[in-house]
């Protein structure tokens, strides 16, 4: 049995920058030398997006209202401040120097973990069902694929944890390409967990991300208790 992070998406959102294309190009240009690829979407339009790919298997998408880091690598690789993900915060800082930059609004971390189990999917499904669902619920939703979601909401903070059974279908439906590439004949089955942290904030630095990774890892340990 092994627990592994599958992918993550980390966003920091800010008030819309109406002259984004000029501000962003100036802020991002120096960082292009660190990227392996650049793509500009909606060029010249209000909602222009600048996407940078980095060698360590992650991408940065800079938009008029947010910066987004997405990766199918292990989230723990990026836990240290010296990881290349720090570029997100450097670019955010450069953007914030512009006169037209308003304020940082909130963040979102979405991370997926799986636990591979050496059992048939039928056994896993049955185990999941008996632990989380009552029989009468099962009678209403007869299925071989379950997922339950827990959500905690405070004024400025939303935490969502979603747990379900995992099979190769999830890889296809969610386009987990790297996993498929690394294990093309994978018949892995087990449990999958999506974790989502959202909070309103006014400033952000690497400590924020580090704390969220720690929190996500801690939450993912629930998978080991199923």
């Amino acid at each position: 049995m092994s627990l592994r992070p599958l992918r993550f998406q980390f966003e920091i959102r800010y008030t819309n920058i109406l002259n984004f294309n000029s501000v962003a190009r100036e802020a991002i240009s120096p960082f292009i030398k660190l990227a392996s690829n650049i793509v500009i979407v909606n060029q010249g339009q209000l909602e222009e997006q600048i996407k940078l790919d980095f060698d360590s298997n992650w991408s940065l998408d800079v938009r008029w209202d947010r910066v987004i880091a997405i990766s199918e690598s292990d989230i723990n690789v990026f836990q240290e401040e010296t990881s290349s993900l720090n570029i997100l915060f450097s670019i955010l800082e450069q953007l914030s120097l512009a006169k037209s930059f308003g304020t940082i609004k909130d963040y979102l971390l979405f991370a997926t973990f799986v636990k591979i189990v050496d059992q048939p999917i039928e056994t896993i499904t049955e185990s999941f069902r008996t632990k989380f669902l009552k029989d009468n619920v099962f009678d209403i939703f007869k299925s071989d694929d379950y997922r339950i979601t827990f959500e905690k909401t405070n004024d400025d903070k939303v935490t969502t944890v979603s747990i379900g059974t995992f099979s190769e279908k999830d890889l296809i439906l969610k386009n987990i390409y790297t996993y498929i590439h690394q294990s093309p004949d994978s018949t892995d089955v087990g449990y999958i967990m999506d974790i989502k942290f959202y909070e309103k904030i006014s400033k952000a630095n690497y400590n924020l991300f580090k704390g969220l990774v720690r929190q996500a890892n801690k939450s993912s340990e629930i998978l080991n208790k199923i």
Partner: protein
């Protein structure tokens, strides 16, 4: 229906849909992310890498470290840099590097900013030195707490 796991099938049949646009609620994306029909941007990215390079990603290199630094000393053989290991803790380390890593930055000058990327894979470590101009490195150094300024600091005066 049987699922086709072949790469070409995945690429051809992956409609690109933006799961991140048009915020309507504070966690607008999150609801979409949970929707199993949504295709993630990540696929678009990996596809882009695959299409352009004909192979996937980075030959197994993982850039585990990316540090900001400045040149503090150099000679014909080596360059000494002060590297920021933690901006949050104000920690720096002084490291020597072979001069060949800095060949593209000649003529070298004191205080010149650089980014040093250390990538690794099984059996190999690779160093890349990137021109650090306009990357905000000077500001990072000026933001560091200068502990030496606190030498001889005394709390003798009553508050």
């Amino acid at each position: 229906m049987e699922l086709d796991l072949s790469i070409s099938k995945i690429f051809v049949n992956s409609p690109t849909r933006d799961s991140l646009s048009s915020p309507k609620s504070p966690i607008d994306n999150s609801s979409k992310i949970n929707n199993s029909e949504v295709n993630y941007d990540i696929t678009e990215i990996t596809r882009r890498i695959f299409d352009q390079k004909g192979f996937v990603s980075n030959d197994g290199w993982t850039a585990s470290i990316l540090v900001s630094g400045k040149i503090i000393k150099y000679n014909s053989d080596s360059v000494t840099c002060e590297c920021i290991t933690s901006l949050l803790n104000g920690a720096t380390e002084v490291r020597d590097f072979p001069i060949i890593l800095f060949d593209h930055l000649k003529p070298l000058s004191h205080e010149y900013p650089v980014k040093i990327k250390v990538s690794q894979k099984k059996g190999s470590i690779r160093y890349d030195v990137v021109d650090g101009k306009n990357l905000g490195i000077e500001r990072e150094f000026s933001d560091l707490v200068n502990w030496e300024e606190l030498n001889d600091f005394q709390l003798d005066d009553s508050l």
